[in-house]
Symmetry: C2
Subunit: 465 residues, 2 copies
Amino acid sequence: MAYKKINKKDVEILRSICGNDRVFYGDEINEDFGRDELAEIKRMPEVLVEPQCTKEVSKVMKYAYENNIPITPRGQGTGLVGGSVAIHGGIMLNMSKMNKILELDEENLTLTVEPGVLLMEISKFVEEHDLLYPPDPGEKSATIAGNINTNAGGMRAVKYGVTRDYVRGLEVVLPNGEIMEIGGKVVKNSSGYSFKDLIVGSEGTLGVVTKAILRLVPLPKKTLSLLIPFKDLETAIETVPKIIKSKAIPTAIEFMVRDTIIAAEEFLGKQFPDNSSSAYLLLTFDGNSKEEVERAYETVAHICLQEGALDVYISETQERQEAIWSARGAFLEAIKASTTEIDECDVVVPRNKVAEFIKYTDELQHQFNIRIRSFGHAGDGNLHVYILRDDLSEEEWKNQLNEVMDCMYKRAKELRGQVSGEHGIGFAKKNFLNDSLGGSYLELMKGIKSVFDPKNILNPGKVCQ
Amino acid sequence: MAYKKINKKDVEILRSICGNDRVFYGDEINEDFGRDELAEIKRMPEVLVEPQCTKEVSKVMKYAYENNIPITPRGQGTGLVGGSVAIHGGIMLNMSKMNKILELDEENLTLTVEPGVLLMEISKFVEEHDLLYPPDPGEKSATIAGNINTNAGGMRAVKYGVTRDYVRGLEVVLPNGEIMEIGGKVVKNSSGYSFKDLIVGSEGTLGVVTKAILRLVPLPKKTLSLLIPFKDLETAIETVPKIIKSKAIPTAIEFMVRDTIIAAEEFLGKQFPDNSSSAYLLLTFDGNSKEEVERAYETVAHICLQEGALDVYISETQERQEAIWSARGAFLEAIKASTTEIDECDVVVPRNKVAEFIKYTDELQHQFNIRIRSFGHAGDGNLHVYILRDDLSEEEWKNQLNEVMDCMYKRAKELRGQVSGEHGIGFAKKNFLNDSLGGSYLELMKGIKSVFDPKNILNPGKVCQ
């Protein structure tokens, strides 16, 4: 389908909807809006619009729909798979200016927010009210709607689940401009097909999220982190299913290797509490009393030592825990800074297959003579594996990357894993999704996309197209 | 669309797929298969088939698809809205014979089951392994696939969430007979639109569940129940948002009134621990230590007494707790046994609107001079309200019932509630769903239904049609 190109008349109309100072055309658009965090996929939108309310989103969408103009919603652009890149040009909706926290309802334990509120703002706000919004992805400057659209998981999924589990209601603008309320503050809902769950994880292809009602939980009174060194990564990771089997449920179980820690130390200019061992597990526990947390971590520390851990470092103070976790939060940036270009693979496999997968990526490193760095969520099976370009030529890089990626996604499928644990499919991972799920699944997805967006104007060319 | 009527040749072919002794035709079919638990909607299937494996389901489905025969999946028939009644005749798939527990995976904390395994079998099996499958609907003899199809919630939703939150993967037979694997043992998943969540709660209209991978959690070591009498229901229910706001999270908060308790005592022939007060809250707490559970219940007991509770009865032993909860589990049967016919309303409202809604049903009771009984999940806002026919004539009953239902669903919508918290829409609640969600939502649902089932053969006439 041929899309309409934006002309000055379109810009005038968009300005009449949103005001002169919130519509940017051509060269007025900052280059950042032409890419996401990985910058692998690039394309500038023709016009950038910054709506301030749902009605404006609705009007812009209606105009795009009636005039066959592609329209791409974007939050903070922290994605890694090109999901928020306007690959067909057209209108970009910068949703990050709709960024108000609208209501904290302590009787229903919900927080109502606009789409552009940042994750770090949400956690700060609710924690001041002794509440917790459990999803905790590494990228704290992402918007909540970005998290909803990728169904982001983060560190605490082991105990608390993912973004999907904390969305109770949504307000969404459909491709034709209609505003739809979905779900609400209700705890249960069996009233027709769950559009809430269809929108969560749909990467802005079915509707534009303009409001979200989030579920909160009481803030645990006590948290504690364990940093546990191992002689090698395999031993570390093979301990995780034993922890799960022991029925102690940590809040988070991350794995990391010395190379990554050193890169983070250099990047942040700060020392990590220990970097003498080649691999580590980092665990967090939370609960409402010292005894409860202690009981859980003692069991786990015991298992780790039995399985060959070299030591167990306990961090009880908030400062020490923040030091460790801020290093963990900087891993991606640190790896990026250590090379010329990177690409990533965000597969999720059953928890007891993580060791096997990581061992395989190590083999690939040697087989293809390319640097591969990984870290991730050992406790929930979601791995973040980065392939580093270093000094490869453009052609070598593309070829090597494709082959390595192919190998990794194939192995993930063999292990009954999925293409993406939390970063989504966007533009970059479409072929791998197709290979993984198969034709019928893709056809059904395309069918659903057509039901919501018959003119294919909303974030076209993503996920299943 | 005109469906094909079943003839002897069809029966022969179905017998060649499933064997002679698992295909029942015409008068051979037990009358139970013509209705569900409420028996309000009645229609016999033309042929009843009892598949024993996914391949048989697939072959039967393919035959139905190719020959334009309606096909209705059914578990134990414990539904209340006609969802499993073959309202267009055709084939009924009795899925309750596929009832094996296939695998407990303690490293991934998952249980893989066939669709016909009963809820009570699952809880018994996993508890023997020190694990818990948290969803806990009152009807323990329902099948797991029935629970998945209605996204059943049950008592423990306050703390643990609903069935949706405990389904990790599904095997589904699509209307054209194709077998599709969805999700898996993975904890996170952002790989395309979530068909897992689309199937959960779709009431057998998009695909037939032939296998499910369920998420388990460690069994809490300690549970305790509180039975708290109040002078009236309003005082009892108005206490609940205060409990939630206190950040103590009970596992369950149920409300009940004396009339219902007395009906249950008569029905079971057993005494309830107390029936001297007009209203009660029943709460459960769980945790891993006595101290943890005690700390939580003491806070809550204190709040209740402050808000006017007359006493606090603590049940710590398993026997005492079972006595109370088995009475709770018999409420629906007891109400049914106390009159000639009943119909129900299963709305869910925000937790702080429950008192208002219950007060309104009491007004309706006087306004329409009809008996209304309710109990339900005060902690999650999901109410089970029953309208009793008593000695009304058929015509009076239908008229009164329609008006009362209309009033209740209207008020639920005003309170920003939803039509069904956990029983689903089936056949009986379609008009109310339409009124509640509006035309566009329904059109999108119909669109999705067409994508999965273009010939509209799978459980036709339900939910959105």
